[in-house]
């Protein structure tokens, strides 16, 4: 093709749009454009409180942060010691119980990753991510 460099690049840029749009349509139900976590997987502090005893709180932050402070009764389950901590979590879980995972703030990704691993690897249903994370919990409990 005897096109100029700019035209060649523009053709490639434009051509890539077509399959990308197709894929975006195909995955429309699996990803939200508004929030990294689909609204159906998020839970607010207030809503999680209404579940009372029927909830297991999971702290996905590193050990040091968990040791400093955490939601009362929360279990630590972080990526660094996943295999070591998972049996303890599984032992305290029973069918019908809801699981709320949190990390430090809205922007952190640890809670989402832990929640996804619990759903996929441990086959645990009803796993939610706390909206706003530990920061949101602190705001509501000060």
């Amino acid at each position: 093709m005897k096109l100029s460099l700019t035209r060649q690049a523009l053709v490639l840029v434009a051509l890539s749009l077509l399959p990308a749009v197709g894929e975006a349509i195909y995955f429309r139900g699996k990803i939200s454009w508004q929030s990294p976590i689909p609204p159906s997987e998020l839970v607010s502090v207030d809503q999680a409180r209404t579940w009372g005893e029927n909830v297991i709180w999971v702290d996905a932050r590193p050990d040091a942060e968990f040791a400093r402070d955490h939601v009362p009764g929360a279990l630590s389950l972080n990526e660094d010691r996943w295999n070591e901590l998972l049996p303890e979590f599984v032992a305290s879980w029973s069918p019908g119980k809801k699981v709320v995972v949190y990390c430090s703030a809205e922007s952190c990704d640890l809670a989402r990753e832990a929640a996804e691993r619990l759903r996929k690897e441990a086959q645990i249903p009803d796993v939610f991510v706390l909206e706003g994370g530990w920061e949101a919990w602190l705001k509501k409990n000060r």
Binding site: L5, Q8, A9, L15, S16, L17, E23, I31, P36, R112
Partner: protein
């Protein structure tokens, strides 16, 4: 004696023939050299294209994870991370295919070079800000790569792309200078 002197001192026509033979032998040797180096550059083409097609395919198969990987760099807002997660893998794949089939070749080289520079700068910026992130460049395969490994891979790919760029320019020049070369 005459015969000997004819051999040692060729006539005008013989001399022209000998000169032509010499030039054509030189040309043939250059052609062989050129084709050999051309094969080598095609191998580099395929190598670089393979890397981008593989990386693009991995990301294209799991755009949700790639969107999170882009978001983790904390440079772009979430909706743009999602848009890039759908778009970038296809751009990489099409440019890789462009290198393999020599379609929009210079455009593909230019885009891939720009992409690798942007990826490298983003990785370096994340490192400087102390972010512990997965680049997501090669899906889960690159999940535990260290920063130096990322940097070395990116710089190696950039060097290969630049070499391809210069070899392409040189090939065009040689193609015009040497008869019988593409």
């Amino acid at each position: 004696m005459n015969q000997t002197s004819n051999v040692q001192r060729p006539t005008g026509i013989n001399r022209e023939q000998a000169l032509n033979a010499e030039v054509s032998a030189d040309g043939a040797a250059s052609n062989i050299k050129y084709r050999r180096s051309n094969i080598l550059w095609r191998i580099v083409d395929f190598g670089v294209a393979g890397i981008f097609i593989y990386a693009g395919a991995l990301k294209m198969l799991d755009p949700v994870q790639f969107a999170h990987d882009v978001k983790n760099f904390q440079i772009l807002p979430w909706p743009i991370s999602v848009a890039l997660a759908f778009y970038l893998p296809w751009l990489e794949i099409l440019c890789g295919v462009g290198l393999v089939f020599r379609l929009f070749y210079r455009g593909a080289l230019c885009i891939l070079s720009a992409l690798i520079v942007v990826f490298t700068l983003a990785t370096a910026a994340a490192k400087l800000r102390g972010l512990d992130i997965t680049c997501g460049c090669f899906g889960h395969a690159s999940q535990h790569w260290s920063f130096p490994a990322h940097l070395a891979t990116n710089l190696g790919i950039l060097a290969a792309l630049l070499a391809l760029w210069f070899s392409h320019r040189l090939a065009r020049y040689v193609g015009e200078a040497l008869p019988g070369t593409p």
